[in-house]
C-alpha cells in the first residue's frame, strides 16, 4: 500500500514516521494522522491495523504532533485571526505564555512567582479588643488555653453577671497566668550545634538514653542529624567519555 504525503504529495510507505521530502508527519486513515504502536513492541507496518499482525494485541493509536484534525482547521483559521485570538502556537508576543498545570508549584522547591507570599493570619482579637495568643509551654508548644480567672460570660457562676473585665488594648491573655501556675516561657528549645555523634531530643529533654530511638521522658523520636557532606566534583565517578554540561555547551 502506498500513500501520498498530504503536505508535499511525495509517496511513502506506511510505517515511516516522517515524509522523506518535507518532513511532515504522515497521515493514515484518510485525513487522520495517527501513530500506531503494538504494546508488545512488535513492528506494526499497517497504520490502519486494529490488532497487531504478529501477536494479536490491540494496537495503540496516537494522534501525531500538529496533526490533530480538531486543531488543524483551528490553526488555519487562527492565522487570519487577530493576534489576541491566536492559539499559543502562533506566539504573537515574545512573552506570551499559556499557564500550564506543570507550571503550578508542585515541588518542595517552588513557590508561586507571580503571587507574593500570603501574609500571616492576623491574630485573633477577642470581643474586648484584646489580642489573644495561645499560651505555649516551655518548649514553645501550644497548650490548651487556660481558663481565665474571671469569665466574661454573663452566665458564669464565677463572677457577677454585671462583671466586665477590664483589659487595656494590647494586653494579652497569656500575660495573665492562671492561678497557681507559672507564666509559660515562650522560648523554642535551642538545637545544639551539629556534631557527628549528636543525638538530641526535639523537645529539649536531656535525660534520654542516647542509644534509644525515642526519648524516655517525652516519647519524642530522638534526632540524629545527617551531617552535610562536602560537595563532590561533578566529574567524579563519570565514565571517561562523559562530562558535565556547562554554559559553554548551551551557547550557540
Amino acid at each position: 500500500m502506498k500513500l501520498n504525503c498530504p503536505s508535499c504529495g511525495a509517496r511513502y510507505t506506511p510505517g515511516d514516521n516522517f515524509c522523506e521530502v518535507c518532513g511532515n508527519v504522515y497521515l493514515s486513515e484518510g485525513d487522520f494522522l495517527a501513530q500506531v504502536w503494538c504494546p508488545n513492541g512488535c513492528r506494526v507496518m499497517d497504520p490502519t491495523a486494529r490488532v497487531c499482525p504478529s501477536c494479536g494485541a490491540r494496537i495503540v493509536r496516537h494522534v501525531m504532533a500538529g496533526t490533530d484534525p480538531d486543531t488543524r482547521p483551528a490553526q488555519a483559521q487562527a492565522a487570519a485571526a487577530p493576534a489576541s485570538d491566536r492559539p499559543p502556537a502562533f506566539r504573537p508576543a515574545a512573552n506570551y505564555r499559556t499557564p500550564l498545570m506543570s507550571e503550578a508549584p508542585t515541588s518542595r522547591y517552588s513557590t508561586p512567582k507571580s503571587s507574593p507570599a500570603e501574609p500571616a493570619p492576623a491574630p485573633a482579637v477577642s470581643r474586648y479588643g484584646v489580642t489573644e495568643r495561645p499560651p505555649v509551654n516551655r518548649y514553645g508548644m501550644v497548650e490548651a488555653a487556660p481558663a481565665p480567672r474571671y469569665s466574661a460570660s454573663p452566665s458564669s457562676k464565677s463572677a457577677p453577671a454585671a462583671f466586665v473585665p477590664v483589659f487595656a488594648p494590647g494586653d494579652t491573655l497569656s500575660a495573665v497566668p492562671p492561678e497557681g501556675t507559672h507564666a509559660p516561657a515562650a522560648s523554642v528549645p535551642e538545637v545544639p550545634a551539629v556534631s557527628p555523634d549528636m543525638v538530641y531530643c526535639p523537645n529539649g529533654c536531656t535525660d534520654f538514653n542516647r542509644n534509644d530511638l525515642f526519648c524516655c521522658s517525652c516519647g519524642a523520636r530522638l534526632m540524629r542529624p545527617t551531617l552535610p557532606t562536602a560537595p563532590s566534583s561533578p566529574e567524579a565517578g563519570l565514565p571517561e567519555f562523559m562530562r558535565p554540561l556547562t554554559d559553554s555547551d548551551m551557547r550557540k
Binding site: 510507505t13 513492541g41 496516537h62 504532533a65 506543570s102 522547591y109 567519555f241 562530562r243 554554559d247 548551551m250
Partner: protein, 232 residues
Amino acid sequence: MSVYPGKFTGYDYDVDICLVIDRTGSMRPIIDTVKENALSLHRDITARMQAKGKTVTGLRVRVIWFGDYLADGPGAMVASDFLTLPEQNAALEQCVSGIRAEGGGDIPEDGLEALAFAIRSRWCQGTAKKRHIICLFTDAPAHALGFGAAAEGYPASAPKDFDELTDMWGFGQYPGEMDSYAKRLLLFAPDDGWWHRIRTEWENTILRPADPDGGLEDVGYAEMLDTIANSI
C-alpha cells in the same frame, strides 16, 4: 532483501542521534534497555535501514543524561560528545553503563534544559542527506525553564522560557537552529504539561506517550529501534 521492492533506493544518510535520557531512579527499565543494547545499536539500525532500502553511511550517537539542577547540582546534566559508530561502540557502551539511575529530587525534571542542550549539539554538516534525531526518554513532567536557575551550575545561556526554546527548534517560516529538513524529535514522555505542548505545537515531532513514573518499562528495544529507523 528489502521488504520494500520497488521503493526508491540510492539514498545515503548521515545520521546523528542524540539520546536524551532522564537518569532518575524510576527510569531504570529504559536505562537498562539502553545499556544492554548499546553495543549492537549501529548494527541494528543499519539492518533496519537496509530493510527499507536505505543506507546509513555515517552514524554518530551522543548521550545526554539529565536530572534536576536543584537536586543534583552542577552534575545534573552530563553528556558525551558525538561518538562515531561502529568505531566507538565500546565508548558508547562505557558511557551508558557508567550511569546509575538516581537523583532527581521532586517528580518533574529539567527536561526542557536537556532538550535545549540537545538542540545545540554539534550536528553533522556534510553534503549527504542528513538526519538529526533527538530521542528523549522520560517518565516525568518537565519543570518550566529557569526553575533551577538558582542552582549552582545552571547554564546562564539556557532559554529563558518556552517561547525561546521554540525559537531554537523553529516553526513555520522560522527555521530555528537545526536543519529544517534533517531535524526530528522523538519523545517518549508523558503526554501532559510541556511535553504535550511540544507535541501539539512543534513540527517534526512525535510523542510516544509514557506512563508517569513508569520508567518506560513498556518500551522495548525493538520499538525504540523502529521509532528511530522510521524517522530517518
